[in-house]
């Protein structure tokens, strides 16, 4: 079964967002990591930059495909997960194993808290995944 924690918010492009004060931690969902499979490389190209909501902030390479990561919210990309960012070897595989925990990707300082309302909640995202699984 695809895991979708209730306490997180989501995007249509399968990122998850955890909001703590004005900091948003971003990763890809369990559904996304399953779709990609075998993740081998991650780069947060927007590290240190200001981005608008839905701008690409980086990309994920899996064996069979490359996928962009999009900013769920506008703001400054403060930090990338040093354990996996541009890492060699098996390190990026943690995204497959623990997408909501150790496999987080980056942190953004939220520029506009109003945008948070545009994110999907658990139920809306579960509905999206259900449609994607039965396409």
């Amino acid at each position: 079964m695809t895991s979708i924690p209730t306490e997180l918010r989501y995007t249509k492009t399968h990122e998850w967002v955890k909001i703590e004060g004005d900091i948003a931690t971003v990763g890809i969902t369990d559904f996304a990591q399953k779709e990609l499979s075998d993740i081998v490389y991650v780069e947060i190209t927007a590290l240190g930059k200001k981005v608008q909501q839905n701008d690409p902030v980086g990309f994920i390479e899996a064996v069979k495909a490359t996928s962009d990561i999009y900013a769920p919210l506008s703001g400054e990309v403060l930090e990338a997960n040093v354990n996996i960012h541009k890492a060699e070897g098996d390190a990026p595989g943690v995204i497959n194993r623990d997408p909501y925990g150790a496999g987080w990707l980056c942190r953004i300082r939220i520029a506009s808290s109003e945008e948070i309302n545009s994110l999907l909640d658990h139920n809306a995202y579960a509905e999206l995944v259900k449609r994607s699984e039965h396409h």
Partner: protein
């Protein structure tokens, strides 16, 4: 509506992530592409290849007919031998690549699943003399057992002495009591076999192979690893690396194009001309010099000039490097040539290398 192979429920039970491919629901992967890839390179894995098209050709003129339709020389085949080949259009473009088996009283053509209907139609259009064509795809199940331990695994349940079957050799006999055609063929670069048997016996054979392979930790392998395994060997995939707009000479398939076989073949005149003038481009192997991963349709550059296009690309699980097959202009096809791939917004360095990418396969020669 996508069709199911006889092994569909087996794939579901094994946790296969199913996708539509060549009109069938097939497993893209089970445990993951990389572990499945390594399984085949180190021990043994099983592929459901029932989606492949199987066409039986018989009659007194069968050999003459197949020799006209394909570029390799069928007359050199002894009974129970197979050969890799291609079918071409008159302009030298490729209809399909295939394996031709010469069996006791008929020939078997094994074609790409996605091209099965097209190929059958193409063959039927050219039927002449005493030739009978029967598409037996639906009645026959096909599996590939691949990896260095494939012979040890299959010998346990096989009534045939497998050591007597050479590379691209075939035999008929029993595997777990079921009549099969078995050949030492595959698409991985490892030693391995392909088995053909009645669709009604499919589950029985599958279960027996899995049981025999238990001591080697045999696993089912999905399409994802099938693709990375074949790419590491520079085996062409129709639709990616070859199609009707490419010819076998530029694709490096010269070894199956017999321009001097006695009665000619469809596409011979065009290919003869291409051979004389030399192909303008060649399908080469590219290995990335940094960590980037090439993907199909990426542009290939030499300095500022576009000189080619990637047709297949992946991370090579064996080399842990990005690898690609690409058509490049002839002047840039020599191994050692340094080129760049346009990846995202930058130029990533790559080098033309000698195939195969993976040089330690257990495949018999």
């Amino acid at each position: 509506m996508a069709k199911q192979t006889p092994f569909y429920l087996k794939h579901l039970a094994a946790g296969g992530k199913m996708v539509e491919f060549a009109g069938y629901l097939l497993p893209l992967q089970f445990r993951g592409i990389v572990p499945e890839h390594r399984k085949v390179r180190t021990t043994v894995g099983v592929f459901d290849v029932s989606h492949m098209g199987r066409i039986m050709i018989s009659g007194n003129d069968a050999l003459r007919f197949i020799n006209w339709m394909t570029t390799n020389d069928v007359s050199t085949l002894a009974e129970n031998q197979a050969q890799y080949s291609v079918m071409c259009y008159p302009d030298g473009g490729i209809v399909d690549d295939l394996v031709v088996y010469r069996l006791k009283d008929h020939f078997l053509l094994v074609v790409n699943g996605a091209n099965n209907a097209k190929d059958t139609e193409w063959l039927k259009q050219h039927l002449s003399g005493d030739v009978k064509l029967e598409n037996i795809t639906e009645e026959v199940a096909q599996i590939a057992v691949q990896g260095p331990r494939s012979e040890s695994c299959l010998q346990k349940i096989s009534g045939i002495d497998l050591s007597t079957i050479g590379f691209y050799g075939a035999a008929t006999g029993t595997v777990s009591g079921v009549e099969v055609l078995i050949s030492r063929t595959g698409y991985t670069g490892e030693d391995g076999f392909e088995l053909y048997f009645p669709e009604t016996q499919a589950i029985k054979v599958w279960d027996e192979v899995m049981l025999a392979g238990k001591e080697f930790e045999i696993e089912p392998i999905g399409l994802g690893a099938r693709d990375t395994l074949r790419l590491e060997m520079k085996y062409c995939l129709y639709g990616n690396d070859i199609d009707q707009t490419t010819n076998p000479l530029e694709a490096g398939l010269n070894f199956v194009v017999k321009l001097d076989k006695p009665d000619g073949f469809i596409g011979k005149d065009a290919l003869e001309k291409i051979a004389q003038e030399k192909p303008r481009r060649r399908l080469v192997c590219l290995e990335m010099k940094d960590r980037s991963i090439p993907r199909p349709r990426m542009a290939v550059f030499a300095r500022e000039n576009k000189v080619g296009t990637v047709t297949s690309g992946t991370l090579s699980p064996s080399l842990n490097r990005g690898i690609a097959m690409a058509y490049v202009a002839r002047e840039f096809a020599r191994p050692g040539t340094e080129l760049e791939l346009e990846i995202r917004d930058r130029q990533a360095p790559a080098m033309v290398v000698t195939p195969p990418f993976y040089k330690y396969g257990s495949r018999k020669k």
